[in-house]
Symmetry: C2
Subunit: 299 residues, 2 copies
């Protein structure tokens, strides 16, 4: 497979996910209109779709069923989008720009933003639990629901956000910062990989461990690169407000390690991610390329 292949694959997955999200979201002409419009406004037509790409790349390891992959990819993206919508609200990060567009509470209002996030979370569980049991055995599907709930909840994303809130103005150690990000972004990246793989078949303990090692490296790399970009890129490139972490006095890898050591760490994590995939051979090519993309991205 060549770099050309990868970029075509990425675009094809993004298009398939866009189509699936369009199907799984309530239509805009159904009551309540404003809620459904706002759900579609914030979910469709944007985003790098990193989590869906991870799900599809992990699905490729075990030739996963396309319908099931479309479901799990849509579900993890819905959870991610809901977290952005709530995170951008005035009582959290108070951000006006996301994916190059006004955030939901700016384009609509705060109450709508709150409900959009709440509804997207419920919808994600409905989508995961809605697969055809002829294709996906109920026991495995139930495992997916449980993993998604754990990744989204207090032992995952929400817990990480709470630690993040509690850390504003504090000087965290590198270990504390890492723990926060493992929960805040790492848990959802990990579950994207796991759900994609489970869309193929049940996992052996060793396979689970290899995927967890990959996810841990990629998850951390993702955050380190985010911090580097926040410190170096401009808002137009990012599609969100740049330099916010420093302005908000939030601890980042750049503030703890410095810029160049952060870049070196990201590169080391990229190599760790590749190494973790060794047992899967050629079938892990897309996961390798995604690790490269995550570290080398410019936005």
């Amino acid at each position: 497979m060549t770099a050309q292949d990868f970029s075509a694959w990425t675009r094809a997955v993004q298009a398939r996910v866009e189509e699936a999200l369009d199907t799984f979201l309530p239509p805009a002409d159904r009551v309540p209109h404003k809620l459904h419009e706002a759900m579609r406004y914030t979910t469709l037509g944007g985003g790098k779709r990193v989590r869906p790409l991870l799900a599809y790349a992990a699905g490729a390891l075990f030739d996963a069923d396309p319908q099931t992959l479309a479901r799990v990819a849509s579900a993890v993206e819905m959870i991610h989008v809901y977290s952005l919508v709530h995170d951008d609200m005035p009582c959290m990060d108070d951000d006006a720009l996301r994916r190059g567009k006004p955030t939901v509470h700016v384009a609509y209002d705060e109450a709508t933003a709150l409900l959009v996030g709440d509804t997207l979370q419920a919808q994600a569980f409905e989508v995961v639990a809605g697969a055809d049991s002829a294709t996906l055995p109920p026991a495995r599907q139930l495992t997916m629901v449980r993993l998604l709930a754990q990744a989204a909840g207090s032992a995952g994303m929400c817990g990480g956000q709470a630690i993040d809130l509690d850390s504003v103005g504090l000087s965290l150690t590198r270990e504390q910062l890492e723990r926060m990000h493992q929960l805040k972004t790492g848990a959802m990246l990990r579950v994207s990989v796991l759900l994609g793989a489970l869309a193929g078949r049940d996992l052996a303990q060793q396979e689970l461990q290899a995927l967890d090692a990959y996810s841990a490296a990629v998850g951390l790399a993702f955050q380190v690169v985010d911090d580097v970009l926040d410190a170096t890129a401009d808002s137009a490139t990012l599609g969100k407000t740049a330099g916010k972490d420093a302005a908000d006095n939030k601890p980042t890898y750049v503030s703890i390690l410095g810029l160049e050591p952060s870049r070196a760490l990201a590169e080391q994590l990229r190599r760790d991610a590749h190494e973790a995939l060794a047992p899967f051979g050629d079938k892990a090519q897309r996961l390798r390329e995604l690790a490269d993309l995550i570290v080398q991205r410019k936005a």
Copy 2:
């Protein structure tokens, strides 16, 4: 069974649900402390537990497994509590008092209230999907997840709240008001009944229809009585701010039908609920008593 029985049964269920919620919520001494403390603050030690009572009463129809009942009762209560926490926030109803205590955004802060709600929703799905598959077959458990997600999302509770928001200042017809409440509160009451019954066994189509007729009558009665109480009781009795609907210019049964016709409607719905339960005989006694409780409550 006598009235004495019912009141003892109610207290026993409430105690069992309190214990189950305590088990299913993250411990307060686990990081992030504030999030977990706030989740426990708002979920434990209060509330009428109407949804858990409905689940247990429906479970009694089919001699449901107690462990499974504790799970589904906790899950529906977590969804209900999360909706209260978000509903009370300044961008929604801006309410300072709930179940006789300061609301979460008052006792903690808005960001914590947002995260408490988000986390409770995820936790609810984790709890429902976490039953022992030896007791509860995965296919039925998956049906429960799907029903809960539908009841919580845009075709249920969240959709109803969005219609409610869109209706402020408008004069709704009785049909529009009814539709709003079917979604806003009715969907979660219905799913409480269904999940309790499913904790016992799969339902035949006729049983499902009977339970739906019961739930529809009880759900509507619940809202009519809420409106009557909002117009007639004081805040100390309600444990929340009384007279808010009129102050917020929200359409209610009392504003559309008048006070006495609203009371008569509630009584008619109570009789409808009893009638729907005829096929179940004596085993439906608790569901009948709950319909009576819902209509005759003073808070």
